[in-house]
């Protein structure tokens, strides 16, 4: 029983942890390029915010899956 709980918690952690790492990696690349872009063209601020924000969906989906694992797997 305890091992099951541990596994469920571990799976939930993986479900959010891996997308979080992926999001961080993607945002670091986009953020660096975005900062360079803004130095030359500040008028593209909105576009850069959008580009940086796009990979966040991964971690949100990870959060949903982690929540489903924690609350629906019995």
């Amino acid at each position: 029983m305890n091992l099951e709980k541990v596994l469920i918690a571990f799976c939930a952690a993986l479900a959010i942890g891996i997308p979080a790492i992926a999001t961080a990696w993607a945002q670091s690349r986009i953020g660096a390029a975005g900062a360079g872009t803004l130095a030359e063209k500040p008028e593209l601020t909105g576009t850069v915010i959008i580009l940086v924000a796009i990979p966040e969906t991964m971690v949100i989906l990870g959060f949903v899956v982690a929540t489903m694992i924690l609350f629906t797997v019995k």
Binding site: G46, T47, I49, I50, A53, E56, T57, I60, V64, F71
Partner: protein, 625 residues
């Protein structure tokens, strides 16, 4: 809201063009359109040509452009000091200034060069002082005599000292003294004491080994090290005083002449802009034409002003706005006072197209609500309300920060409202201290209901975006795009119904018809949206799921607040507990400003606006002073 614009043609006798343009510039309501396309019928093109300036005006333009360059040159040599405003009428002094500008430029350049030279000397002296002070400490143990020579040097790599010592021993046959020390900036400096007879040999050897000997300015002449140190200290004081004098002289010059030159430069700019605008006008044998755009509501104002000032000879005509003109109409936004601060957020995006929607009112309505739901703590809301009040009061002159303060104030109002609903005041303090239960839901434990709530918000928001997009597409006669968006709304509702039936919210018996209807609508979706329709539709579903962040970010805020109170309680001491909890709550409030802002903005920029806002408009830039 996007202001309704009119396509305007102004015509009149050629000799009135300058007066018309001056008046239009005074009013600041009319944007001149240099392109003739859409304004002049192809049948009339042969009778119309670009307006050409007469000889006198052309000479005036060249004269003003030349003077403008000279004034720019002079101003660039003067310090950027805040100076008074000149009240002299620029046209009355322009000729006198044109005669004096060259003389003033020479004077300003001399002052500027003098100051630059002194500053350069001071930097050089500072650098020398660093080395000399290090060498001075070495000199204390070496007595200066006429037979001895002192060679100062900088050692790039401290590990080289041993090699150097060995090389000097070989050259001088052990008749030397070599001391090292560290300068104030960390550089290793050395002082070699040798007999004058072999000093040149040592110097050559050092040069061969690429060890830089300390070099001093020519002014140092043949001074000894001790004299050099005294000279540097004395000269540093003198140079500082001379720099002060040169700066004061520059400032006196700037205070005396800069206001006048700036005022004349502004006047020249205005006049040149008018003359350049003339190039955007057109002429026939007798008349001039100016084409452009202006807000429709100001049309009568411009008509009245031109009539009063220049009589009925100048005619203002509103032309028919054709389909192809809509792409060229400049965009001006005007929103009610409540929404105006939110233009700060929409200004980060490109302007909307004329036929699209201004996103400002939407962001003004939904942004504070999302912010409030995410932060949802009455205590934090009160703190932010105070912060917003301070920002608005302190930065009354800075419009952007003032607007930011207003947005924060509105958002903190919603934060307090949702905080009351969620029963949160600095986390779970109401429950801990007074055993009060939340009015609506406890976010910390009700994760699944909050997830469903945020998905419902997402569905509502995305459906609203699709609805606006569909309406806009139908208005623009883009039937397939409109149909695709309308069908997407229906399918989203059907999917929501099917999902709801699993939770018993929707009658289970209607599940099968809903699924059949989805299957029936799928080919229609493909027809309307093309081959990428499934992808587009899935994107909409992904957009709805993205709203889960409202719960996710909110949950982190709740849990951090809970941890703050829990840790505060664990300390067992009231003062320490308040300090610990206060620090963590402080961190949470700082995060609570940035996180909800960024995520609410993202939900608008990416999920919501992509459904109905078409970007690509150009800014309305009227002719004005």
């Amino acid at each position: 809201m996007i202001i309704r614009m009119s396509k305007i043609e102004i015509a009149g006798p050629k000799d009135l063009l300058q007066q018309v343009l001056s008046l239009l510039r005074e009013l600041g309501l009319f944007q001149v359109e240099p392109a003739a396309i859409g304004f002049i019928d192809s049948a009339d093109e042969q009778h119309v040509r670009s307006f050409s300036l007469d000889e006198k005006t052309t000479i005036e333009r060249l004269y003003l452009e030349d003077l403008r360059l000279k004034i720019d040159d002079l101003v660039s040599l003067l310090p950027h000091a805040a100076v008074r405003e000149s009240y002299i009428d620029p046209p009355t002094v322009i000729e006198a200034l044109a005669r004096m500008v060259d003389h003033h430029t020479v004077q300003a350049r001399e002052l500027s060069e003098r100051r630059d030279a002194l500053q350069k000397e001071r930097v050089e002296l500072e650098r020398n002082a660093v080395f000399l002070s290090a060498v001075a400490s070495l000199l204390q143990s070496a007595k200066e005599t006429p037979n001895l020579e002192f060679i100062g040097l900088t050692v790039r790599d401290p590990a080289m000292v041993g090699n150097l010592r060995e090389a000097i021993s070989r050259i001088t046959d052990w008749k030397y003294e070599f001391q090292t020390g560290t300068a104030g900036d960390g550089t290793v400096v050395g002082l070699i004491t040798v007999e004058k007879a072999i000093a040149d040999k040592v110097k050559r050897s050092l040069a061969d080994e690429q060890v830089p000997e300390l070099t001093f300015p020519a002014a140092f002449g043949s001074m000894t090290f001790t004299e050099k140190i005294a000279y540097v200290n004395q000269r540093k004081i003198e140079a500082a005083a001379e720099i002060e004098g040169a700066t004061a002289a520059q400032e006196r010059f700037a205070h005396r002449w800069l206001p006048l030159y700036r005022s004349v430069r502004d006047w020249i700019d205005g006049r040149l802009s008018l003359l350049r605008t003339t190039a955007s006008a057109y002429e026939t044998k007798m008349c001039f034409f100016i084409h452009g755009w202006m807000p429709s509501r100001d049309l009568e104002r411009i008509r009245g002003s031109l009539l009063r000032s220049l009589g009925p000879q100048v005619v203002v005509e509103e032309k028919e706005m054709r389909e192809q003109d809509l792409e060229h109409v400049p965009i001006a936004l005007r929103n009610p006072a409540y929404f105006r601060p939110f233009e700060l957020m929409t200004s980060l995006l490109p302007l909307p197209a004329y036929r699209s929607y201004d996103p400002t009112p939407f962001i003004g309505i939904f942004f504070p609500i999302f912010f409030g739901i995410i932060l949802g703590d009455a205590g934090y809301g009160l703190v932010l309300l105070l912060g917003a009040w301070y920002l608005r009061k302190r930065f009354r002159g800075d419009q952007r920060i003032h607007d930011g303060g207003t947005i924060l104030m509105i958002s903190s109002g919603y934060t307090i409202f949702f905080g009351v609903l969620f029963g949160e005041f600095f986390g779970d303090l109401p429950e801990r201290l007074f055993h009060l239960q939340p009015l609506c839901v406890e976010r910390r434990t009700a994760i699944v209901p909050m997830l469903i709530f945020s998905l419902a918000i997402g569905a509502g928001h995305v459906v609203l975006g699709l609805l606006l997009g569909a309406m806009n597409a139908f208005q623009r006669n883009l039937k397939r795009e409109g149909l695709f968006k309308a069908l997407s709304i229906v399918v989203i509702f059907l999917i929501a119904a099917v999902l709801a039936s699993f939770f018993g919210v929707f009658p289970l018996v209607l599940k099968r018809p809903a699924v059949l209807l989805i299957l029936f609508l799928t080919p229609l979706l493909l027809f309307a949206g093309g081959i990428l329709a499934p992808l587009e539709f899935l994107k909409s579903i992904g957009n709805i799921i993205s709203y889960v962040r409202i719960t996710a970010i909110g949950l982190t805020s709740v849990l951090l607040a809970y941890v703050a109170n829990q840790l505060g309680g664990l300390t067992g001491d009231v003062v320490l507990g308040v300090v610990v909890a206060g620090l963590i709550h402080g961190l949470n409030i700082v995060l609570g400003v940035f996180s909800p802002t960024i995520h609410s903005l993202r939900l608008h920029y990416v999920e919501f606006f992509s459904k109905f806002v078409e970007h690509g408009g150009r800014k309305f830039e009227p002719l004005k002073k």
